[in-house]
Amino acid sequence: AREKFISTFQEIQKNFSEVFKTFFEGGRASLVLREEEDPLEAEIDIFATPGGKKLSSLPLMSGGEKSLTAVSLLFAIYLVKPSPFCIFDEVDAPLDDVNVERFSRALQEYSQNTQFIVVTHNKLTMRAANQLYGVTMEEKGVSRVVSVKFDKAMEYANEGQIPAG
């Protein structure tokens, strides 16, 4: 079990450094298993430096940088053992447009092997959809779902009006 954990950990470690680079141009990051302890109990430390900056302490990172770093870690783990499906609920909220696009491009890439369900308010994320559903409450307090086309979805997400299409 100990070896299994260590070999999995090393694979995640490698993935994390690579995924982080796709999100942070010129950045680098690593995971470290604390040495003094039993690998089955040891804490895992995260070190991450966005591009061009000095070794950041995690707390000093910005809101968006922290989200992207955590997302890099989640993808790193996912790549070791892809789950059949994964749901993201407004995870893109703190990201600027460039990062939203990087994030949705990563999802598109992994979605070849995994079904992703992504809840969002962001127009760029919507564009990456294979299919798009709009949720509405035309009848007060009662939800219903409609399948939508992208440009209709744009008005729809904003106004909650069912597009006439």
Partner: protein, 165 residues
Amino acid sequence: MKLAELNIVGFKSFAKKTNLLLHDGMTVIVGPNGCGKSNIVDAIRWVMGEQKSNVLRSEKMDNVIFAGSASAKPVGMAEVSLKIENTRNLLPVDYAEVVITRRLFRSGESQYLINGNQCRLKDIMDLFMDTGMAISSYSVIELPQVEQLLNGKPEERRKIFEEAA
């Protein structure tokens, strides 16, 4: 192994029968604040066996039953069904498709069904356990959780590493 179809009726704000077809790749869900997007996410967790009421944002489990609104009366039962295609024969059953259903009545009585046959919650959870599709801490990702990964307790972080090993 893929999610094919979700049917919701009487669950949270989905008073009326709602059908969502799920395809390969990325499904994006949009809509105004409070229209029911996260409720769909909750429905998926719930039908797959989620028992923690705080994860479902309810103080008590029967809060998931549609409680009525200005334009619709409360109902007596919440029901969610999820059809899964057994595409790689990962499911330990002989069917090409498996439909899992969960119901909760105002009386507090629960029902669980696999392909229309009553079973226990445990049977549903075992079904998923074997396929790696179990609703783990990281099959649904939300923002607070993403930050927790960086700031939270080390044991939480270890947990998802161990789940991958």
